[in-house]
Amino acid sequence: MATSLLPRQLSDNGAVIERHWQELSSRRRLYSWLGFGILFLALSGSLWFANDSNAGKFFDRLPHFFDFVGDLAPRDGLEIFRAMFDLPSPYDDGSFKYNYPEGRLYLTESFYIPEYVHKMLETVNIAIFSTVIGTALGFVLCFLAARNLMPNPWIRGLVRRVMEILRAFPEVVIAGFFLAILSLGPIPAIAAVSIHTIGALGKLFYEVVENADMKPDEGLRAAGGNWIERVWFGMVPQVLPNFTSYFLLRLEINVRASTIIGAVGGGGIGELLRLSIGQGHQAKTLAIVILLFATIFAVDQFSAWLRRRLVGEQAFQLAQ
């Protein structure tokens, strides 16, 4: 122990310092334990509340936890493959459970796109489209919200508040509202996801702009460039790699978001998955889950690869 190396007897000043240090560390320890205690109380209270208000109780349901896994097993492994590619099933009895070929979308006489692949493409397309829209509007707004480009605090504050509201507004509500006006379909999902994207990307974008190097801007200002020229030639070239990186990151998030919004009525693969789990169609459920997993995984990996090329390792520090 380190203390054994020190002289036993401390000078007066040494003793005072020692005592202060002891006091400080014991207070610190007290705060830590107090913090842990509060956290523990909050956790146990929360768990009790969650368990109490759940339909099934945790310990009652735990033995049956894997029952539904049994429910998910299809009659044979190939069924998953058939469901995914809309091939006829040998068990077909005319019910919805085995009607795989009915979902085919024929492009030509003989060439078709399987239903789930089609719906998956639709979901991914919803994500890409809304990310593009959100990026475009976030791009326009972010320069108005950045401290270094917009000296007027009123405009800046207004734009930031607007972004905050767009970001915090529950996506479900936007989707539900557009669902009430428009008919069922992908557009409510697009509206919901893009509105959220504007707010989320706008915030990340203006933080990038605020951290940018102001020297090109100064040069342009000295040469008499107007605001738009300053933004376009002084700011955009240096922030574009970071913007692209955030665009890709948002794309990853939006693929997931559009799946969920789809499940609550926005079309796409999410709705099919919810229906198929609810009706207990094992092979269909597994086919969709595998497809979804593969798509999300592929989008994530592709985006990570591209981001690493664009901005290097910097893209992976508290990214989101």
Partner: protein
């Protein structure tokens, strides 16, 4: 004063000396154009793919305005039925926000008692209006509303003496009113007056040209009068439906069954403080509180409970996720655990948890645990173990090795090396990321709630599905925004204390 303006010869000289400065490379120019063109083509393709133009064209934009207005206002809907003999009767909508026997001062009635023959068809089952149930037993178990007696009647002609209305005046605001008397409906709005004759059966005939605020699709059919924000009305041959819109949330504290309904704040306070009990079983204060909590229209208690569930889901899910991700990330970081196999295994496990996605986990756990917050907690826990594990292991791989080496060089045990050489560097980052996810999960918990994983999501979704409870949606959205804002501030404050000024 010297200027830096160059003459053309000098410019040409500079340009010929440094051609690369003024001409961007061909590939660069082509690439920019290609990206811009690609985006435009993609947008056109998506316009076709989602048939956006068609959907937006078919949308019912008129109703969008009404739904939006419903967020912050409510309608009172008196319906004036006009009989062929030009007498009238007045009904309010069921569950009218004005209570059981509304008598608002913006509706003026002239009454008259007449004796006449009424034909009652055989199929009519007249449901006796439920008697206003004793408000004291409101929402207590087993208190059904007054029994509804149904009276079957044979077709017959009956002579009745009853009170009928001879003149009804509905005043919307100072410039808008509708007067109905003697089979004539006289609507005044913004200085124009439209007189319509109703025959008590089928046809409506306007006298004179229709002003801009009145529309009639075909002669004789109903006329719709739109008065803007103050409401509208529909005039049919035998009925005038009035929709008078008022700003605000109706009956936010006490619903129409409460004994406190329709009283001013002063009256409510004096009732609460008075000793005379409205309900002998409990004090007026507890009765008032109970009536607020179980308000049938706003369901305050239920909304608050569901919101608390959402908060709890995010809190517990994130806490467990960071507790599990914490030990695992040491195995995943290649500079801490130098085994390639272990690194890859744990990292792919994290990827798996993340890629299966919160939504799929939520659907599965809803099957396993039944709908409720346990499913939401588990879904958040599984997804975020993956995300936090990935972020944590990346943070570990970026640490400064000097401290570790220092601790190692004095002969510390492996665990002590991690404790004193690694943890102090990464713990603030870990905590900050956990806080960030706690905050962002509060938002995502709303969405997965909508598929049955507990919390306010489902309630929000159900309120929207009816298309008539938009004020409840507004209330819940406001509460969600408030909670998100509070957590945002708490988490930001904690994070900036943990990370110094680095964290945003």
């Amino acid at each position: 004063m010297t200027t830096t303006r160059l003459n053309p010869m000098e410019m040409d000289a500079i340009a010929s000396r440094h051609p690369e400065l003024l001409k961007s490379s061909t590939s660069k120019r082509v690439r920019t154009a290609a990206i811009a063109g690609g985006v435009v083509v993609y947008l056109i393709f998506s316009w076709w793919f989602f048939s956006i133009g068609q959907v937006l064209g078919n949308a019912n934009w008129g109703i969008a305005g009404t739904y939006l207005a419903d967020w912050v206002s409510y309608e009172v809907r008196p319906e004036i039925h006009v009989a062929p003999d030009r007498t009238m009767s007045l009904n309010y909508q069921r569950n009218s926000p004005l209570g059981h026997n509304p008598n608002p001062d913006w509706v003026e009635l002239d009454k008259e008692t007449v004796t006449r023959k009424v034909e009652i068809p055989a199929s009519t089952t007249q449901a006796a209006k439920p008697k206003a149930s004793s408000s004291f037993s409101f929402m207590t178990p087993g208190s059904a509303l007054g029994a509804t007696a149904t009276a079957e009647a044979e077709a017959r002609v009956e002579t009745r003496t009853e009170e009928v209305l001879t003149r009804v005046v509905v005043t919307y605001d100072h410039s808008t009113r509708i007067e109905i008397a003697d089979g004539l409906v006289r609507a005044t709005h913004g200085g124009d007056t439209l007189v319509m004759a109703v025959d008590g059966a089928e046809t409506v005939s306007p006298q004179g040209a229709l002003p801009t605020w009145a529309t009639q699709k075909r002669p004789g059919e109903k006329i719709v009068l739109a008065f803007g924000a103050t409401g509208w009305a529909e005039v049919e041959g035998d009925e005038v439906s009035v929709r008078n819109r008022f700003f605000g949330w109706a009956n936010f504290l006490f619903d129409t069954n409460s004994p406190f309904f329709g009283k001013s704040y002063g009256e409510v306070v004096s009732l609460i403080t008075s000793d005379e009990r409205l309900d002998p079983k409990r004090s007026n204060l507890s009765l008032a509180w109970n009536n607020i909590l179980y308000n049938a229209e706003w369901q305050h208690l239920d909304v608050w409970t569901k919101l608390l569930q959402t908060v709890v889901m995010a809190f517990v899910g994130t806490l467990f996720a960071s507790l599990i991700a914490f030990p695992l990330c040491f195995l995943a970081a290649r500079n801490i655990t130098p085994s390639f196999m272990t690194n890859q295994l744990v990292k792919r496990f994290f990827d798996f948890l993340r890629s299966v996605d919160m939504f799929i986990w939520a659907l599965f756990f809803t099957r396993a645990f039944g709908p409720g917050p346990l499913a939401g907690i588990s879904a958040i826990f599984f997804t975020d173990t993956g995300t936090l594990g990935k972020l944590y292991s990346e943070a570990l791989e970026n640490i400064d090795d000097k401290q570790r080496e220092g601790v190692k060089s004095v002969g510390a045990a492996p665990l002590a090396v991690q404790r004193f050489g690694v943890l102090p560097q990464v713990l603030p980052v870990f905590a900050s990321q956990a806080l960030y996810f706690w905050e962002s999960n509060t938002r995502s918990a709303t969405i997965i709630g909508a598929v049955g994983a507990g919390g306010i999501g489902l309630k929000l979704w159900e309120a929207m599905r009816t298309n008539s409870d938009w004020e409840n949606v507004a209330y819940m959205v406001l509460l969600i925004l408030l909670v998100v804002f509070i957590f945002d501030s708490i988490s930001n404050a904690c994070r900036s204390r943990l990370m110094g000024s680095k964290a945003h």
